[in-house]
């Protein structure tokens, strides 16, 4: 269903030494966020707009946005191990651990921290979609019956139609005894409760 267009992306993460002389140990991290087409169109319509996606480095130290083709870059990053997070409403992205090596520039390692999956190139895809709302169950007779009201009615019907059956199966002797007992206890019967019942 989700027709992911197979895009051949070559090495996207290149840590080239920067052009400025004073910041020799500063690198760029380039990558791409790819939200497969087809995702996000089912369920409630999500604005799958790339303009609302933010890419965050090291817990908000740097924040950048996506270009129309999904590429992003962080400039002037020192060598070390960094964490990249993607914030996009409607999608769950795993944070990515990125090692920027000072010794051999150009060599880069990236891995998803959620499942420790290594990435050969810095293409970030959502692990899953996020549904923020419960989905209303379509109307069914069962749900109506399971509601407190339905149960009340059901219970009443059961009493009205099954009770006589139970009473019928009872031993007449026992029945009489039970009725006498009830009378002696003065338990008001249903008919005596009702306005007309007093006439009996």
């Amino acid at each position: 269903m989700a027709a992911v267009t197979p895009l051949l992306l070559l090495l996207l993460l290149s840590s080239a030494p920067s052009f400025s002389s004073e910041s020799r140990n500063a690198y760029n991290i380039n990558g791409r966020v790819k939200i497969p087409q087809g995702l996000g169109t089912k369920g409630y319509a999500l604005p799958g707009r790339m303009s609302n996606v933010k890419v965050l480095l090291n817990g908000g130290q740097n924040i950048t946005f996506l270009r129309p083709d999904g590429y992003f870059s962080f400039h002037n990053i020192p060598a070390g191990t960094h964490l990249i997070e993607v914030s996009a409403i409607g999608y769950f992205f795993s944070p990515v651990r990125v090692d920027v090596s000072a010794r051999n520039p150009g060599k880069v390692q990236a891995a998803l921290t959620e499942n420790r999956k290594g990435l050969s190139e810095l293409v970030l895809e959502p692990l899953r979609e996020e549904q923020y709302y419960e989905i209303r169950e379509p109307f069914s007779i069962m749900s109506l019956l399971k509601s407190p009201m339905g149960l009340m009615v059901g219970f009443m019907l059961a009493v009205a139609f099954l009770m006589p059956k139970l009473v019928e199966n009872m031993d007449p002797e026992e029945m009489r005894r039970a009725q006498e007992e009830m009378r002696s206890q003065g338990v008001p019967s249903l008919s005596s409760l009702l306005p007309g019942g007093a006439m009996n």
């Binding site: 400025s20 303009s51 130290q61 270009r67 002037n76 964490l83 419960e134 008919s191």
Partner: protein, 985 residues
Amino acid sequence: MAIRSFLILFILFFFSSLNPILSLYEDQVGLVDWHQQYLGKVKQAVFHTHKTGRKRVVVSTEENVVALLDLRQGEIFWRHVLGSNDVIDGIDIALGKYVITLSSGGSILRAWNLPDGQMVWESSLRGPKHSKSLLLVPTNLKIEKDNIVIIFSNGRLNAVSCIDGEVLWEKDFEGESLEVQQVIQPPGSNLIYVVGFASSSLFEMYQINALNGELLKHESAAFSGGFLGEVSPVFSETVVALDSTGLILLTVSFQNGMISFQQTPISNLVKDSFGPAKIIPSSVTGIFAIKMNAVTIVIRVTDENKLEVVEKTNHETSISDALPVSEGQQAFALVQRAGPEIHLRVKLAHNWDDNLLKESVKMDQHRGLVHKIYINNYIRTDKSYGFRALIVMEDHSLLLLQQGEIVWSREDGLASIIDVTTSELPVERDGVSVAKVEHNLFEWLKGHMLKLKGTLMLASPQDIAAIQSMRLKNSEKSKMTRDHNGFRKLLIVLTRAGKLFALHTGDGHIVWSYLLQSLQKSKVCQHPIGLNLYKWQVPHHHAMDENPSVLVIGKCGPSSDAPGALSFVDTYTGKELSSLSLVHSVAQVIPLPYTDSTEQRLHLLIDADKHAHLYPKTPEAISIFERELSNIYWYSVEDDNGIIKGHALRGKCTGEVADEVCFDTRELWSIVFPSESEKIIATVTRKLNEVVHTQAKVIADQEVMYKYISRNLLFVATVALKGSGEIGSVTPEESWLVAYLIDTVTGRILHRVTHHGSQGPVHAVFSENWVVYHYFNLKAHRYEMSVIEIYDQSRADNKDVWKLVLGKHNLTSPISLYSRPDVITKSQSYFFTHSVKTIAVTSTTKGITSKQLLIGTIGDQVLALDKRFLDPRRTVNPTQAEKEEGIIPLTDSLPIIPQSYVTHALRVEGLRGIITVPAKLESTTLVFAHGVDLFFTQLAPSRTYDSLTDDFNYALLLITIVALVAAISLTWTLSERKELQENWR
């Protein structure tokens, strides 16, 4: 027997039908929650109106927001919140379709697509040294059909292509002490002038070819008097500067590469001098302004570089940028505040004497002065020019004026909230206006019939729309009186502009707002800062007739010994009751748990000299306070020195400060952290008003554990000095994090735990007997959350009933913090996916309802996480008894369930804080999250077990009852008839 089993079955059914629904259905959005979007104080605005079509304006703000607004209504078309250290230096529109932003000290240049806000390109600019950042978008300067953007930043001049952000050429200005002040591009030419000062007395001018960056001319001239502050360009080859004394104006002209100075002492221009002046730069040709103390002087430069005062005023004046109107003419606007009105004048640059427009607009007193003005013109139907003005007020609000009226206004001060508190609404009484709720029974029934149709899926689309609007427009929720459930309250917020707002929790509308005079710039106080809000008076019991009030604490200037300022504001009327300018500073505020006979809460203010001052300053308050003198303890944290100190009171102040309400303090204890290995990065205590229902916790096997509940527990997190930097700057071996639990009365460390290979930032929350903290684990390279629970062992023997009966328990033995507490702690850690901005915990009136953590994630969403997930007693395989108790099997990471985002599909951009307030209904807590946006909702962590939900269907209940009665009467007649027949037989 049969009946009983039936009943049991029925009850089981009944409860199973209440299956847990934690979250929201999509059609419930907006029922109890509201979301408001703001921008912050506007720094710069650029109009986009030349084409026919939608009139729009691009703004950048002090909250690092860049946004496109609709000029008709002030609505946001799109908005981007940049990072907190990505401060916007300049914005402009290029090619009529891109918004260009320069940010991060001139090192990041971005272009955004104007209609939809999609980022088009991003360039990183670097340079040799730190400098002023200037952005210039010349309209008709082209290199090979490519429009360019000129940026001066970090000591380098760059020309960047508008289309793809490529740097076309760059030129360094490496002069040792060169401070570039202005970059001027005379319209219609291919030249760029870069002017600046070097070694404080040299004026430097560089003439550059804009097409290739070639240096054409470089001239410098010395001026012995030196220079001060900024320069203002008056003509394309003339600037105005001030000499170092601030008393002489210099007109510097560099026509044809010849620099010439012309000095004009300010005393020659105005009779009475008011001390050193300051230039207010303007882009208007031939006009600039200076400011001396409170006096603003507008000066015109004639063609022969003669200066001429055209206006001198005591009013705060704002001047707009130049707006090109027809035939190379420029218009500009001046705006002043005078009493209840603001006066707006639009003039042509070369013709001071005539006004193109003169208007007076009535303006709310609580918006303060006009800080900024931007103008734009339009052509009226009679072909004459009309002007609209966008103004930024002292309270950070943004207004559009047109034809002498306020077209729209935005309360953008609410984007920078400093502190929040709540207040109850008035009790419903005669005379208090109450909106009509339901018209009559018929309407009410009709509403419920519609609802019923909705549940039975019989409703037509119109009906569904009607139901939705009926639910959203429920007038009940925005009534101005207290409700039975305590859902309706006032949120009192203090903004950075020094304005108080009261927001209604029902729909978020502003009930009142008040610009605090004590937090406004004045002669005595140049940089007032608002600090905190406290509940000053919460009347109940014996002061029912009083209105509640809040205490606003501010101080004058950022230094620690700056004098404080107090204001008392009535929360019903929004009027200031009184204000006080303090002689002492405010380092710490302690709301005491005592109130006087009018329900005013006693507050203790600690100043920088460690004196304590009691407020209110009444004899009654002093007598209450003196009784409790020996019971008051507090602590102070000096994070720079790594010291935590405990304090107590000693007695009345001695020495020169003879004040009834001043008390001397003494230091009780101090904890000094080794400065070479530990640095304090977070301290958290319990909320003062938190209610704990029970100390006992019944665990599986009928065992009881006693929570160690003390108001005086402090959580402290320290990290290794190296690990206090950013993520990625240290290796796991050289970083560790230590968490402490400290008793703040005795200074005793109750618990200490070290997390090796971890680092900050630490976000923590403390509630009841547990603390949860979030930090970064460098070894796993993931975030972690840990929980510490602390239990009282000294009471552990009390679980024997016989002991209780025979009085052999120790429940009545006195509790003293001086005796060594016998505590045990349990802790556990879990992975957590996201970075966190803030953590809060739900709070309810009686503390019975289970708790949820509210985690403000880096994506500006608020996630509700059950405290049960952070239970140190979780095991991989819980026993049956533990399962019944509700213990969740242990997993290595905390689950993120999308449905438990309380902000659902919304973002609270720039999230800074989450506040929880208990409602009167025990199951419900009110949550307010603020940042650039505001978000409010109600949460029921264990579901609303004590009230029917909103979607409870009364009509269905009625129908059921009617059906039952009908069935009863039917069966009754049937049985009557049967009986009769049997009697006849």
